[in-house]
């Protein structure tokens, strides 16, 4: 699944794209708990979260997560966008709540690995 497929499926808007818009996303994880993301993620490239703080971007960087989707209309702040641009991490926002955003991606073929 490509970034453009993801944004279409969850009606998302891209906040910043880095230079990895061509990445193929195979599996995703939905979590507001960064402790769990650190402990249980295997090879997910996409994280869906309702959490807004710079450590979300740090966690994504450490775990090689290529894109973060903020659910329920949450918007990353300027510090997070700045960090994401620096680390080439894609940020997307969607108005769908976590359950719906995950469900739509799952229905479209996105799978989980680990968490």
């Amino acid at each position: 699944m490509k970034l453009k497929d993801i944004t279409r499926i969850i009606n998302g808007s891209v906040v910043c794209e880095g230079n990895c818009s061509d990445v193929e996303f195979i599996s995703a994880c939905g979590s507001d708990l960064m402790s769990d993301v650190m402990a249980f993620l295997k090879n997910e490239t996409l994280l869906l979260t309702g959490l807004i703080n710079p450590q979300v971007i740090r966690t994504a960087e450490m775990m090689d997560i290529k894109a973060v989707v903020f659910v329920r209309g949450k918007k990353p702040d300027s510090k997070m966008v700045e960090l994401a641009l620096e680390k080439d991490i894609i940020l997307v926002t969607t108005d769908y709540p976590m359950f719906v955003a995950c469900g739509k991606l799952y229905s479209a073929g996105m799978r989980e690995e680990g968490c």
Partner: protein, 143 residues
């Protein structure tokens, strides 16, 4: 410690949730530049970030020293925080004394120390109440 190729030293600022993780991020970048196996880079990133976050969250910051040797990477995270009363208990999955504020930031599930153990070849914790804590984490290139 094995003969070092490179030593990196960082300050870990206290309760600064914006710059927390800066040291781990820098080490990750360096290891990638050095062409270290991505699986090893991941283990170092996870272990160091967990330890760095602990120093920020539980101990008012500290310092990190990373020794990149020929056969292993050794990460030392030291702080002058409150110390850990019962290390065996702290190593248990789910044990956490994190504040509500920390939990609201998505941390404090009591997964960090067990995660470091899982991702490293050796983990040595020395801690004294009222003095501070020192973690020495080794990750071998062959692991």
């Amino acid at each position: 410690m094995s003969n070092g190729i490179l030593t990196l030293v960082y300050d870990i600022p206290a309760m600064d949730m914006i710059s927390a993780g800066e040291a781990s991020s820098n080490v990750k970048k360096k290891l990638k530049q050095l062409g270290v196996n991505p699986l090893i880079v991941k283990k170092v990133s996870i272990s160091m970030y967990e330890a760095e976050m602990n120093a920020v969250i539980h101990a008012n910051g500290g310092s990190a020293t990373v020794n990149i040797g020929t056969d292993e990477i050794v990460i030392i995270i030291e702080d002058r925080g409150p110390g850990i009363e019962n290390i065996d208990l702290a190593m248990k999955e789910g044990y956490s004394t994190a504040s509500d504020e920390v939990r609201q930031m998505g941390f404090g599930a009591g997964m960090g120390l067990p995660n470091i153990k899982k991702n490293s070849d050796s983990l040595n914790i020395e801690s004294e109440i009222g003095k501070g804590t020192r973690l020495e984490i080794a990750i071998k290139f062959t692991s």
